[in-house]
Subunit: 361 residues, 2 copies
């Protein structure tokens, strides 16, 4: 059984089918493709290619396979060990229940975006022309990038780390992809509105690895996107539906800022979300300190859960790129196959050790 | 055939053996374990556990398997397609050659650290008490953290991005793991020398994802490691084998810095290295713009090479954590298995498209 039909779950399903397995795919929503489809992702970082180019072939493989039995608008309600396998209770949106007997489970139910309303001082949902990452993806993919005035924005501010790296809302982790997504959105905005001014307000720019020049440098050299290391304390409604942001530029003599924009984009982070929390509860999986699902051993076996026969793939173990989720789906598939056909399960005492013992070696 | 016996190659070998395949493992060095063994890694980030805890079980699985034929101190000299498989010529250090017939290949020959001598203005190899990441890993794992005076360092400076994000030496990418490794080293130093002052000079701190509080915050709150956003222009030899670093603190009024330390650590980055370049040449693989090996499609199929039947895992496609390398080894194994046993190979026209066409959609 694969739970979740996003990049990780589709990738796991594809490999299991390739291996000759029968797959029961359970998806809470009414469509395949996960968050990229739900939120209508536009181009993907760092290669700036349409999201469909990556997601659609995965969907197609699963749709065309005779060996995938798909339950849409269905959740996993509970699970009972039976021998080395599981009897899983499913429940659809009408409350009708069903059971399936499976040999192994891949949980790939993904993440949800942080709801920016929880960071109330940023005015999302209250002040006009303040948007979230996902609003902008949809506007870009639908080619409707306009403010409430009906016109394309001429001055855009992007604020990174909304709901991430922020102890005041309880998320001390970094959401890993928002720097890259936002830099990509900045370039997409400049492609559509070449004379727009786009400023990214940041703490650290984390376009790690090969993303560095594909995003960070490209956005500056080819698109003249501005990066301002600064702290934003407040948003105010300005004249003509503009937004005035107030803060401090930490690079230029801690100069006070009060700058008007037509559009403000909050780069809201990633959380486990209610869907995956429910999956964790139904399957009896443990959560780690940040609230994501805990792997048995994050270094040695990142796709094995703490519960025998259940494997993990994608953003339910922490913020992740689509490419990493696809790779994890592939890796989880082979582990699930090995478990289902040969009973292979590796042990680790990592979670049993106190960290203190490990540090003072 | 698996080329390279580091985390990625060992992980791929393990899965292939689990699947009942016979594996020919080719390793250039005289030991298994790859760079973590070669450079004697101490603790691994972000969990601060001994490297051996992660690497040794992988080595053991491969050593104990009757289905792995291992060639040590051997390189791949050339490859010839034969049907859907390959005839691979091997050459050992004495120049003796051998051929092996295999159905699929996983290339996992890894990276090499940037040689800090190439950034000559930093004085590595010339000014005493300037070290690289790998020197410090060895000193920590051997419990011999001392300067040339024979005493433990009381003042330590760590300089990030040496050989990374630096167009002057031709590496425009970010090496992804150095922020995390350096923060970990800072904590290990403070464990051993609690009254030491440790400063990390950085451009951006990239402890992305769940590493944020496990490393960045932990190092500040529990270990009082100092982070200074600054540019270092020069190192000078000071009295008593100290090093004086000159630069500019970009956060505090661009204040000029001239500060003495007992020990300076250059966080040197990752490159493809000669070993993997030779593998790429022998196998006929393409390189991407930064000089790493190019996957067929970095988003959809990151572990497939551009050449049919050859798969990729680990840092030869770009800077990567050990955990990511292990996951990729697992994923590459299933793809190699599917190719070897069922001829499954996925096509993508990603590399054939000009980026411009993709951007202007």
């Amino acid at each position: 059984m694969v739970i979740g039909a996003g990049p990780a779950g589709l990738s796991a399903s594809r490999e299991l089918v390739n291996m000759g397995m029968n797959v029961v795919l359970v998806e809470r929503e009414s469509y395949l493709g996960g968050t990229p489809k739900k939120l209508k992702y536009s181009l993907l970082f760092p290669e700036l290619r349409p999201a469909g180019e990556v997601i659609d072939p995965l969907i197609k493989t699963v749709q065309e396979s005779k060996n995938v039995k798909t339950y849409m608008e269905t959740i996993v309600d509970g699970v009972k060990q039976e021998g080395n396998g599981f009897v899983v209770s499913l429940k659809d949106k009408k409350g009708a229940t069903k059971t399936e007997k499976v040999s192994a489970i891949v949980a790939a139910s993904g993440f949800e975006h942080f709801d920016s309303r929880r960071k109330y001082e940023y005015g999302y949902g209250v002040v006009p022309n303040i948007y979230q990452i996902s609003d902008i993806e949809r506007m870009l993919s639908e080619n409707k990038l306009v403010t409430t005035t009906g016109k394309p924005p001429k001055r855009v501010a992007i604020l990174l780390c909304v709901g991430s790296r922020d102890a005041t809302i309880g998320n001390t982790y970094c959401s890993r992809v928002c720097c890259a997504v936002s830099t990509k959105q900045a370039m997409e905005i400049k492609e559509r509105v070449p004379d727009a001014t786009v400023h990214i307000y940041y703490m650290d720019i984390r376009t790690y690895g090969l993303m560095e020049d594909k995003l960070y440098w490209k956005s500056q050299l080819e698109y003249r996107v501005g990066f301002i290391r600064g702290r934003i304390s407040e948003f105010m409604r300005g004249p003509n539906d503009t937004v005035i942001i107030k803060g401090e530029d930490t690079m230029n003599l801690n100069r006070a800022l009060a700058v008007p924009y037509d559009m403000v984009i909050l780069a809201n982070g990633m959380e486990l979300g209610l869907g995956s929390k429910q999956v964790a509860k139904a399957l009896g999986l443990e959560l780690e300190d940040h609230g994501f699902i805990k792997p048995m051993d994050p270094d040695r076996m990142p796709v094995q859960s703490t519960k025998k026969g259940i494997f993990l793939a994608g953003a339910l173990t922490g913020p992740k790129t689509i490419s990493d989720s696809i790779t994890e789906g592939t890796a989880a598939a082979i582990k699930a196959y090995e478990y289902a056909t040969k009973g292979i399960w590796e042990e680790s005492d990592f979670n049993k050790k106190a960290m203190a013992q490990v540090v003072h070696h």
